[in-house]
């Protein structure tokens, strides 16, 4: 991200030169055409007019002012920014996969259907679930699907009075947002001093109005709910279901099966645990695993194997229906499948083992300066806080994060979970090497020294990015959202 002075930050439309062209379509077939005047577009859309080289240079240039896993360490807690293997891309781009129409006849879709079928089976085995759907496009979309399944389950049992979703206050924002999209009430329970659910507090909130207990395991503090079995049992006794937000499944893969913990519904994120790229914010792919008694509610179509032929099955009268058109983000799932093929049972366990090792290594080397929220060993991520000496000088987590950019590191997740004041949430993932982590640690320690000596240096950071700190207030007050 050097060469700031040479940065050409024109918009594509500002490079436009009327009359320039790139792609053409010459194959105009001759047919009678008489468009009704009232339905014809009157003026052309304001789109850039560029040559192919203009377009290539513009978007190549923009790609260079961007951090990514391929270029930078990206320890964004809760997001699992692990390496995205290149073979995944090659697999998804194979013509047989990429050109398959979603309504193609089952007979001509056997390869994709077999892959989806096997992927579902492997996920069931990993999670100790009885059935999976891969229709949801993302994590939040999976939560939506999962809670919809719970809703359908209770409706069928005549328990419509179950309108409460219990989540800990450390939950991702998507949990309460999903609950309210589906008309549930969110009941927040307070985390105990160790960051875990307090069974006594949970008990006080459980009742015949509770539909679902939504837990993230390990939770957003990177801590395992040690009393999960007891907690799940309490929920089940109250007639509720237990949902596991699988955002942090990278800590458990191959070493713990969520179904064994008493989880009834869980989601996975292909773009976290299963190495598919995040693409600047998406596309991801989700998936919902359920225990047998919830299977009938899964979205349609299901993929089934009948007489040696894979088929899409719509014969599911109690299904919740669809959460998106067609099947799901199959192109993303193809990448996740390739990743799974490359891992044996033992190698899957090595993913979480190394993710946990790396996070604890970070934590142990940083916590003397950056106090950790929890004294326990962490799972795949840890939550730290700014040094008291820096806080005393008025420095915030944001200042530390911005200064990290100058050292060539993407900042960790900051100010989340909400229950930790000035949180710095670090998730190194298993694919990072010790020397990368060492240089990150050195940068963090150096920033502490810099902050003590010259707080302004941090307050003004970043210094080496294409832009300095940006005015977010102006962006929100006078929104400029388009050319």
């Amino acid at each position: 991200m050097n060469d700031i002075t040479k940065l050409d930050n024109r918009l594509s439309i500002e490079r436009s030169d009327p009359g320039r062209r790139a792609v053409r379509f010459n194959n105009l077939l001759k047919a009678k055409e008489a468009l009704p005047a009232g339905l014809v577009r009157k003026s052309p859309p304001k789109l850039p007019e560029l040559s192919e080289l203009d377009v290539v240079r513009h978007y190549t240039g923009l790609s260079k002012i961007n951090f990514s896993i391929d270029t930078h360490f990206y320890p964004l807690g809760s997001c699992t920014m692990k390496y995205n293997p290149k073979i995944n891309e090659e697999a998804a781009a194979l013509e047989g996969f990429a050109n398959l129409h979603p309504l193609a006849h089952d007979k001509t879709s056997q390869g994709t259907l077999e892959m989806l079928y096997d992927l579902e089976k492997r996920l069931c085995a990993l999670c100790a679930m009885d059935a999976f759907t891969l229709q949801p496009a993302a994590g939040a979309h999976s939560e939506f699907t999962g809670l919809l399944i719970a809703k359908a389950y209770f409706a069928k049992r005549g328990e419509d009075q179950r309108v409460d979703i219990i989540c800990p206050d450390s939950a991702h924002g998507t949990n309460p947002a999903t609950a309210s999209m589906l008309g549930f009430n969110t009941i927040n329970i307070k985390s105990g001093p160790d960051g875990r659910v307090d069974p006594a507090d949970l008990k006080a909130h459980l009742g015949d109005k509770t539909a679902v207990l939504m837990l993230t395991v390990p939770n957003t503090l990177g801590i395992f709910e040690s009393r999960i079995e007891e907690i799940a049992e309490m929920a089940h006794k109250a007639g509720a279901l237990v949902y596991m937000d699988g955002a942090n499944f990278n800590a458990l893969i191959g070493i713990v099966k969520p179904g064994d913990l008493g989880v009834d519904i869980m989601h996975i994120n292909a773009h976290k645990t299963f190495s598919t790229p995040h693409g600047g914010g998406g596309p991801g792919a989700g998936g919902i695993g359920v225990r047998r008694r919830l299977e009938e509610f899964l979205p349609v179509p299901r993929v089934i194997l009948e007489d040696g032929i894979y088929r899409t099955d719509f014969r599911c009268p109690d299904s919740i229906g669809k959460v998106k058109a067609f099947f799901g983000n199959v192109g993303v799932l193809t990448r996740a499948y390739a990743y799974l093929l490359m891992h044996s049972k033992k190698e899957l366990a090595q993913i979480s083992e190394n993710a946990i090792l790396n996070a604890n290594y970070m934590k142990s080397r940083l916590q003397n300066i950056y106090p950790a929220h929890s004294g326990d060993y962490c799972m795949h991520e840890c939550v730290l806080t700014p040094p008291a000496a820096l806080a005393a000088k008025g420095l915030k987590t944001l200042d530390i994060a911005k200064r990290l950019l100058d050292y060539g590191f993407h900042a960790p997740t900051i100010y989340f979970p909400l229950i930790v004041h000035e949180a710095i949430m670090i998730e190194p993932t298993e694919t990072e090497s010790r020397e990368t982590m060492d240089s990150f640690i050195e940068a963090m320690l150096k920033i502490n020294d810099e902050g003590a000596a010259n707080p302004q240096l941090l307050k003004d950071a970043p210094h080496t990015m294409p832009v300095k700190r940006l005015d977010e207030v102006q962006a929100a007050r006078q929104p400029n959202l388009r050319w």
Partner: protein
Amino acid sequence: MFIANTQKDREEMLRTIGVSSIKDLLKQVPEKFIYPDFSLPETSLDEQQTARRMKTLAAANTPHLSFIGAGAYERYIPAAVKSLISRGEYLTAYTPYQAEASQGILQTIYEYQSSVCALYAMDCANASMYDGASAFGEAVRAAVRITGKKKVLCQETLNPQYLTTLKTYFSNSSDYHFITIPARDGIMDADKLAALLGPDTACVAFQTPNFFGLMEDAPKISEMAHKAGALVVAAADPASLGLFIPPGDYGADFAVGEGQSLGLPLSYGGPYLGIFACKKEYVRQMPGRIAGMTKDKDGKRGFVLTLQAREQHIRRDKAASNICSNEALCALSATIYLALLGPEGLKELARANSAAAAFTAEKLSGVKGAKLKFKGQFFNEFVLEVKGDAAELREKVLIKEHIDIGLPLKDLYPALGPGALLVCATETKTEADILRLVKALGENI
């Protein structure tokens, strides 16, 4: 695989932490849950074997010459699109939470929003939704939220995938009424619409071209809806907008679309791109991420995610939507596609589609036992009525001729009869392709 640590690294790191094994780090997990047996393969494939396995699976898909559309369209994807979106700098970035280190992505989102606004003639657009169907569901949700009314009028010829998705997006309450506006001659019956509109109507939600490929009289529908005080949610195929009137020109309050049409691969249904745009007065009701232009402390132009007070990570249970991950890379792909086409290319694309479909329809209506079902103006697909059962004909031609002739409609619209077939031809179809279809139908009906 893909783990950097060596055994030596691991030992040294464990020593630094002060434990002797990784298992020591797992003390918080009850012993009985750790390392259960997994019924998963004992062995893994190396990269070469994986590549071979994936190739074998891909080859087991045998998409023939296909005339299926119905919401997902075969497109030619320019090489520059594929090359640019494969760049790791885009592909492996996350949501641009650290704006200064993500100016590239943020600017492309701004350019995407601008391109969508230009194409749909709308005031604002978000950074993307999952797909057309979920964008449609979210737009109707927003219309209901704004008006506080519970009656939603939907066209009969809405893509059934959209309708089923829409219903799940309204599972929060059973108070909503979804009323179908019947069709006449394949398009919305204006008299029926007039009779159904009332002061309790939240919105009229429709797509054009509709599921049968026909252009709705969108300006008229919109005028009628607004007169009755209802909002208008219009879904439009972006590829049609080089030729046909954009939603903003007839006053749509929300405009959505399936962005797969803008040069994304079919990939058996995803990842696609939910296009979402609205009038500026509704910007704070828009779900999802939005990028905005601002200045840095030196006054230099820069981009940030903005208006985040609508979103789940800030507002939690009061958020406009739960959406977090979106389809950013697909949005980037569409932005590059539009930049390559420009206004002229877009018009050519629309004309190439409309001409291919018109040519197909003309030739097919000359086939004995086949005729066009509706008379209206269509874009790139149309309903053909064949003698006998269209599903049986599809099977027969698929096996004999390796051509997928289109989507039989009898399960979705029984009233159309067993012979209704939705046939699509986009710019990817040549005269020779179409003549193969014509010949196959001529010999097999």
